[in-house]
Symmetry: C2
Subunit: 395 residues, 2 copies
């Protein structure tokens, strides 16, 4: 039997970082990339150019219409982002193609209203929330939660986009003009209470079609302006019962939604009532390798990228334990360098043990261009080192 | 400045395993591969097909005549094997191209007579040895060493090929027929004493053009029929003074020969005289990532593949400490499976913590098809796990 073929939709850094894992496993990776110079296309020989929403491109990706493995259909179709056309995925599944995660699972990472409804059904703690058919519904909700809330577009938001903190309905009146969604996109809106969280956590799990699930240690995700800046693994000082609860939630969600592949559950940690232990509520879901799991490349026995490939190929999952007591990952968001590689000499001179991952992307303000991971025994030192190395790359 | 371009000669598993390191550093890797389906070509988008001894192919590789980075000349030319034409490398260096290691260094990994002469000059302990201009010279040597010796071709040997243990000159008379070398190839022969070694060790170091050198822990290399079957890092029970001596030898050789990139020094450990500590003598050299360093992919802070790229780009070298007390790498030499990926489910089911590297090569008896690395605290367990996982892949 020839080596398995995994087709991935998307040419960003997540598909790029699947490549080393595929290389190790001897798995053939085929990526549908936005552009021949995309992050993933630089390191994946089989990288047809096309749009994720183009049926012909998606069918060619699955069939293997061209490239170095032409004629070898994909054993499984997977994704590095959620901007994919579900009706087409359903059609491909009906035709016998393995689509993992399935369209039925993926919709929960695409549509926040669908996600909130389903999580509520599963008994998973969420912020108070409501759909927003009109401004009056928002006014009612604001009164109920005490005057401040977060309005979100149900679809299309990421890294803080499509999210607005509001104190009155007027703050988001522009999104209601002509139709819902920013710029009259017609995307439905929902509102959530502004959770009084102490910090953000994330749990990553992977699940096989056969049902096996493995979770990595719960991490703390440090956000700046709605974008992940830093991840600390494990989350410092996390109460064991909170870690267990968070992991259990993620497993419940993965099974309840029928997720296959990696699932990232972003959580708010909130103080417990009356001095009790803190609790967690679900913020967002992603069904793919996720920024909160980049530390696993060096920090865990099995990286999220290898695990995603194993999960979607229905191979037994790998160990998810940490290799060292602490791992800190710091993102490089924008850079003063013309190219990040211009800073390679400086960053390697600064810290001989920092692990650098550059994404091969052109520099733009705030763009995720790379990250640094440092492992070690002393959190304060590890964190300072990761931040210092990322700062060098950021120029 | 655009990302650095590293051109590597060769399309085998060593070039293949450079790809993930290049991906992480954002370095553009271009490999001259034997065939479009070569191990490295499967995972490197910029992989022109050509022979290492073809001047036009080598010049096109350096110039970037085609492919996804056409027009971008290589910042450095390096190698995954030693079968390269030195005169041409010297010419390229004269024309201003960075060739690392240089032809002047590389010749010591290509010609065992040149290597023995130079190491002897440097005061590096070697087996007793002699050039063999004729059978009479061999007869004289055999008498001097007590009747058993090892005849080698000066060039072209690897993995036990071009090596013969002899007890009399007649045992290798066929190599002298018509001219030297097996099959009348005209390759000069040398003879070495059969060292009464207790085991084989290897030291890997990397050296930058600026002179910085870093060494990994000394490992034990377990050979079967002249081929590396297993590597244990660090070498169990190695006396600290022997480890220091071995490392010091490797650093001396790297500096003395002007090596840039990774240097592997294969050593024999021999019992000390009169109950003194063991000593080491040099067996072979390789100037590239080496089988004895595959454990560094997961087992060390910096893998030999990343370090080789850093060294040839004259970037500061990374830490070479081990991530866990023990690492064992077991090679997969041949397989009863049609494709090694057929055994992925079985090997991942057997051991969720074993790290598998498959090379994408077609199965042939005894061929290096992949390897498994296991890390841990208990050597007996780690070794048993690595061997068991490799056995599953070997079918």
């Amino acid at each position: 039997m020839a080596a398995p073929v995994v087709a991935v939709v998307g040419g960003g850094q997540l598909a790029r970082m699947m490549a080393p894992a595929a290389t190790a496993l001897g798995v053939h990776l085929r990526a549908l990339v936005e552009d021949a110079t995309s992050s993933a296309a630089q390191v994946i020989p089989d990288a047809p150019v096309g749009a994720a929403r183009d049926e012909a491109a998606l069918r060619a990706l699955v069939a293997g219409s061209s490239g170095p493995a032409a004629g070898r259909p994909a054993d499984v179709l997977t994704f590095e982002h959620e901007q994919v056309p579900n009706a087409l995925l359903e059609q491909l599944a009906r035709e016998g193609h393995a689509v993992r995660p399935s369209a039925a699972a993926l919709v929960h990472a695409q549509d926040k209203i669908v996600m909130r409804r389903r999580l509520t059904e599963l008994g998973v703690p969420c912020p108070r929330w409501a759909e927003l058919p009109d401004l009056a519904a928002l006014e009612t909700f604001l009164v109920a939660v005490g005057g401040t809330a977060v309005v979100k577009t149900a679809r299309g938001g990421y890294d803080g986009k499509g999210v607005r903190v509001v104190h009155s309905a007027e703050d988001v009146a522009d999104w209601f003009e002509s139709s819902y969604g920013p710029d009259g996109t017609g995307i439905p809106l929902l509102v959530e209470e502004k959770v009084p969280f102490t910090r953000e956590l994330a749990v990553l799990v992977a699940r096989r079609p056969s049902g096996q699930v493995r979770a990595w240690p719960v991490v703390e995700s440090v956000q700046v302006d709605g974008v992940c800046a830093e991840v600390i693994a494990p989350a410092p000082g996390l109460a064991p019962e909170v870690a267990r609860a968070a992991t259990s939630l993620a497993v419940t969600i993965a099974a309840g939604l029928g997720v296959t592949g990696v699932l990232a559950v972003e959580l708010f940690e909130v103080p417990g009532d009356g001095g009790g232990p803190p609790t967690v509520v679900v913020n967002e879901l992603a069904m793919r390798p996720h920024n909160s799991g980049h530390w696993t490349i060096e920090g865990s026995v099995t990286s999220q990228f290898e695990q995603h490939l194993r999960a979607v190929l229905d191979l037994p999952l790998g160990q998810t334990s940490a290799r060292q007591p602490w791992a800190v990952m710091a993102n490089v968001l924008g850079s003063g360098h013309a190219e990040l590689t211009d800073a390679l000499a400086a960053v390697t001179a600064l810290d001989a043990g920092a692990k650098v991952q550059l994404y091969g992307k052109s520099v733009r303000p705030g763009r995720k261009l790379g990250h640094v991971t440092v492992l070690g025994d002393d959190l304060v030192e590890v964190r300072a080192r990761a931040q210092a190395a990322a700062a060098i790359l950021a120029g």
